[in-house]
Symmetry: C2
Subunit: 297 residues, 2 copies
């Protein structure tokens, strides 16, 4: 019996879980269309849902988090101000077309650097609901999120555009032209190049000056062309982690997958800090917890 | 009578001067082909020279500075280590195909952040030769240079990729998509948006986090779409200037042209620092001085 269907629906990703009465995962989909692709279908988001989850739809409640609740998604829900906990998210669900949408969070809305998130708050709730403690959370990605919780409550967060800027530098600058000139296949030493980049990233001075070292080191044959991308990745992540870890007194948890999560963990290690990688399933666990608090499951 | 022909030949620019016996400018060309365009001609650099300066070539010595003496230029000359003055540059001219090429400079070649310049050293020499004093020099551009002189000698410099990164962000990230969505024509308030960006750029925290404010401020209708580009430009230049000005005790001179030089001057002013913009002609003046020290003119 299906007790709840949960969806983590992002700009370019779609993951869904069919859950039983105790929140256990009965079935899952991890490769559905993100909102850019789904929104372009003739039947839009409803068609994407039917196409991918049609067999699951037996009347069980559906809850969804992520950019699907943004201006370019199925329905735009408001952003909740901080501090914010699972109960506040549960009380603010927006029911639209039969789906309960989790709303996003806004930080410092009237200050000089307002910030927003949609989806990551649910993953952090999942970590806390699973018994994980408070602390600093890092969610690496195109737009990385750095968030802090106290007493089970989200109290601050910040977005860093590391992934997207890395892509723009790699594909559209002189550094990219050097990278293109190098070998395409992986070669030994990539991890060392990444660590070397982290060391350059943690230094003082303008970031847009430090990244030029990727060119000059290559020019002087001190960095192989095939390692420039890893060095540059390390430099940007190193700058991000060095700044973000400055006020990280407590435990650090990385919520992410695969190579990217491991790279952030490596960057913390180079900087002399321990960071745990959360087990998979945080989004599903958070959706279950929010739905349960609302009495949906 | 032509005493000297000087050329400042960059990747995408070509400026040349025909000088008389006292170094006075008799004639000039400012729109010749940069090395990318000239190198693609059937007759290469020699053809470009003949096409643009053929009428000048009466046997007078020719001196050239800039990226024309790099790996992708007419001839690759070595980089001279710091400290470096006009005499050292004069003693290191490379004669090739009848042209005296000014060599470039290298900073910290064996350290973690080696750096190089080609062409800017000649402009700084021009400033000093014209009676300008020592201090901090900022040469804004695709790759800005920050250089320091003491006693007429170049003692340190650093490259900051501000211009190129701004272009990559504007054209190839979510910030660029917001900029494209805005009006194309200039509108009032652009200078204020730039100054607001400088204030955000001078703040602490990861640069790739601070730039996200360009999106969130627009999302919250606190920054018009038509002002995002100016705000982002201010933010990147503000970060660069705030870092670069930290150890600038003496006078600051901006060597550059037009709007970009004015924007750097504005950024210094927002940060409470005075900066002069050098008069035009620094490259020509530097080429004359180096040639004269070598006995060519």
């Amino acid at each position: 019996m299906t007790a709840l269907i949960g969806i983590d629906w992002g700009t370019t990703s779609f993951r869904a879980w069919r859950m039983g009465p105790g929140g256990e995962v009965l079935d899952s989909v991890t490769d559905g269309p993100g909102i850019l692709a789904a929104g372009a279908l003739p039947g839009g988001f409803a068609q994407a849902l039917q196409d991918r989850l049609g067999g699951w739809l037996d009347g069980a409640p559906i809850i969804a988090s992520g950019m699907i609740a943004s201006r370019n998604g199925w329905v735009e829900t408001p952003y909740l101000p901080l501090p914010l906990d699972a109960g506040a998210l549960a009380n603010s669900l927006t029911l639209h077309d039969g789906i309960h949408f989790v709303t996003g969070a806004v930080s410092d809305p009237d200050g000089p650097s307002p910030d927003v998130m949609r989806g990551e708050e649910t993953e952090i709730i999942g970590h806390l609901a699973g018994g994980g403690g408070d602390g600093l959370f890092v969610l690496p990605g195109t737009h990385s999120k750095w968030a802090r919780t106290e007493g089970g409550t989200l109290v601050s967060f910040r977005t860093v555009m590391t992934g997207e800027v890395f892509g723009a530098l790699r594909d559209h600058t002189i550094l990219g032209r050097l990278i293109q000139a190098g070998p395409a296949s992986p070669e030994p030493g990539r991890d060392d190049a990444f660590r070397r980049g982290v060391e350059a990233g943690r230094q003082d001075g303008a970031l847009l000056g430090r990244i030029f070292s990727a060119r000059t080191l290559a020019l002087m044959d001190r960095l192989p062309l095939g390692h420039i991308a890893d060095y540059l990745s390390g430099l940007l992540i190193g700058d991000e982690v060095a700044h973000g870890a400055q006020d990280a007194a407590g435990p650090v948890t990385i919520i992410g997958r695969g190579d990217l999560a491991a790279r952030y963990q490596t960057a913390f290690a180079v900087l002399g800090r321990a960071a745990d990688i959360a087990p998979p399933g945080m989004a599903q666990r958070g959706l279950w917890d929010i739905a349960r608090l609302r009495g949906l499951a």
